[in-house]
Symmetry: C2
Subunit: 444 residues, 2 copies
Amino acid sequence: MKLRWPRELPKVRLCFLLGTMACAAQASEPTHFPDAQASDPATLGWMVGSPPPADRILRFEDGSYFRFPQMRWSVANFRQLMPTVNVSRGLAGPSMLERTSSGEIDALTFVPLGGDEPMTWQQSLLANYTDGIVILHRGKLVYERYFGVLKPEGQHAAMSITKTFTGTLAALLVSEGKLDPERMVADYVPELAVSAFGNASVRQLMDMTTGIHFSEDYADPKAEVWAHAAAGNPLPKPADYQGPRTYYEFLQTVKPQGRHGEAFHYRTANSDALGWVIARVSGRNVAQLLSERIWSRLGAEQDAYMSVDSIGTPFAGGGLNAGLRDLARFGEMMRNEGRYNGTQILPPEVVTDIRNGASREDFAKAGYRLLPGWSYRNMWWVTHNEHGAFMARGVHGQALYIDPLAEMVIARFASHPVAGNAANDPTSLPAFEAVAKHLLEQRQ
Amino acid sequence: MKLRWPRELPKVRLCFLLGTMACAAQASEPTHFPDAQASDPATLGWMVGSPPPADRILRFEDGSYFRFPQMRWSVANFRQLMPTVNVSRGLAGPSMLERTSSGEIDALTFVPLGGDEPMTWQQSLLANYTDGIVILHRGKLVYERYFGVLKPEGQHAAMSITKTFTGTLAALLVSEGKLDPERMVADYVPELAVSAFGNASVRQLMDMTTGIHFSEDYADPKAEVWAHAAAGNPLPKPADYQGPRTYYEFLQTVKPQGRHGEAFHYRTANSDALGWVIARVSGRNVAQLLSERIWSRLGAEQDAYMSVDSIGTPFAGGGLNAGLRDLARFGEMMRNEGRYNGTQILPPEVVTDIRNGASREDFAKAGYRLLPGWSYRNMWWVTHNEHGAFMARGVHGQALYIDPLAEMVIARFASHPVAGNAANDPTSLPAFEAVAKHLLEQRQ
């Protein structure tokens, strides 16, 4: 089997999402990586032993935890590396996830984007450096696999899927009349009046159509991405440190670039700013509100958690860690118009609004070659395909894929060596579509 | 109501249990403290707001988190301040804790140790700076209260109750023949041959009758307590730092003092050394083993967690944080000879051995004026009273009190300003006995 899609993709350096200095270490990484089996974190034995061997110890402060393949351990163990805040599931029993069979999924084949030879579903799991994957069909568990160090009773970094929870919470507050999407951000957070966010509308934040200057040029030590990472780093700041010291301080320094409302620009800072708005409006930080309004009502089987900055601010743009099945439960709730575990968790109109998406023209301006015709609404990625599928996405392959027509939810955690999902979309999106097609055929 | 027991007790500086430098900050604290209501962390609003006011922000690195009254927030939020490792409850539903009434407990009266005027149970809750307390009678929940920032769905520092879990796990391994209590510590952990622990028996570790030099003189910058704290601190070490860098490195530096096996000496380092032995024997660290062998079998309603050092070693001497009801479930399992949630979690002989206690003469040499006739076995405190009560105890008022005759378990989390339990025993131990007496009378 030969694939034409490139193994050496430009490295989309989104590792700042972790709010750390890890990217400094990553900048010197090779662009060829060991494959999924050679990089298996269980085989490599990171942090195993009493004490672990010196070359198997991973640390937060020196960035070793986020080099590849080390990060394959770290994404399932962030709480051992940094302070975190709990997202309680409450104390009741978990909602049942009934199991059933839906035929042979492993042998399903698909043609990767840009390729011309088929690949099996099972092969795609390794190609995508999958750590865990769950498929629900009509709410029942039809497929579940774990790799490396992730287990069902474990929590994995959701990366930018965090944004989707932040956006969904904002949409919920909007539906309750507590948050007006047409009002300016500074109306809710006066401290942001000095920043580019101040005269953006809440809607523009939620759909990431703000015009802000946020450089991700890692070669430039003055790039905003470094200030964001340093601000969010929970470790004590160096004595000579002069920059912003928290997410909130960083957000006030963000400068304008272009006009608001004209194009989709994927910038993590929008989610952090939205998190601030949510905190002001609700009197809860994002972790607390997520627990109260969603997590504790899902019948989640595990608490989730979020990383925090040095003053306890949950990282609304990328700090969530959760169990895989619980992520699937959240997806199933979305598939069921907001209803799950016997409760209407989100009003149906919130879900409908997300599914309907936003402006596809605004989205097209961002130039995602692999996502033609998509849009971004309330921090969800909307495919606008024939099945009406929509997604939550996070760097290194985190995915929650909801296909309403096929009555299917796929939740996946991964640790792909390349941050940007352009590296795994070719072997992910058509694979998800192949399962959807299979499940639709099963139904007939 | 006048009490004769002193409000100004010598401060037993056991805060090193946290493995931090917090005691430096504490050293200049007053010896008069605001009372429970004036120090209520919910009222004081620590870490509330977006951002919190500057004078309400608590940090790990500067020790502010462990000053009083700030620590009343911190003990319910350690994971926001430092890296931690999960102790999974597994994924099944929690075991039921049925509720029932057992008469009016709040109005029960008792005479504090060293006092001559009665106090009510309800008054004792404030006197002890209680954060949460649960009473089980015959396994049913007959009393439950929370104060400050602790909630049922929250986890509180168990402090040295951690030791009791470590000791119980060791006893379990002994019962399975995996650990021989008569063998030398160095037989299991050769690295400890150079230390005072090397030629101690595992039994001496488990009962804390080792002869080790472990000064807790905070005025002495060379005291072992500082080295222990610095070694366990998960933050990056200062550039000029020369000392041990992990719990394991610290343990190898512990020097002998006196002979092993002659007297009870309460020294946290014994628990850490036992944790190392356990890790070697089981191939699991204490957090993993605790999850596998106890926590996931209790039907706990929440995961617990442990603080870790810079290489992920769980702090076996004091790092556990757990839900209050789950601590009570553990106590109920002990009351039921190791059986709980439909499972024999510990062999009955392990529990019997603990209840029988150890040498009361060895214990008496330690000079605990308020604990006459007690002993210490497998890191449990055994009262040898007429009810056969035994306890797990942690600084600042953490308590798990099991009274077999009264068929009663009391689990309490607290944030008393004085670390040493001599400060709260006068209003705790007779209060527990008063409830036991009440429940025995109810039965008749």
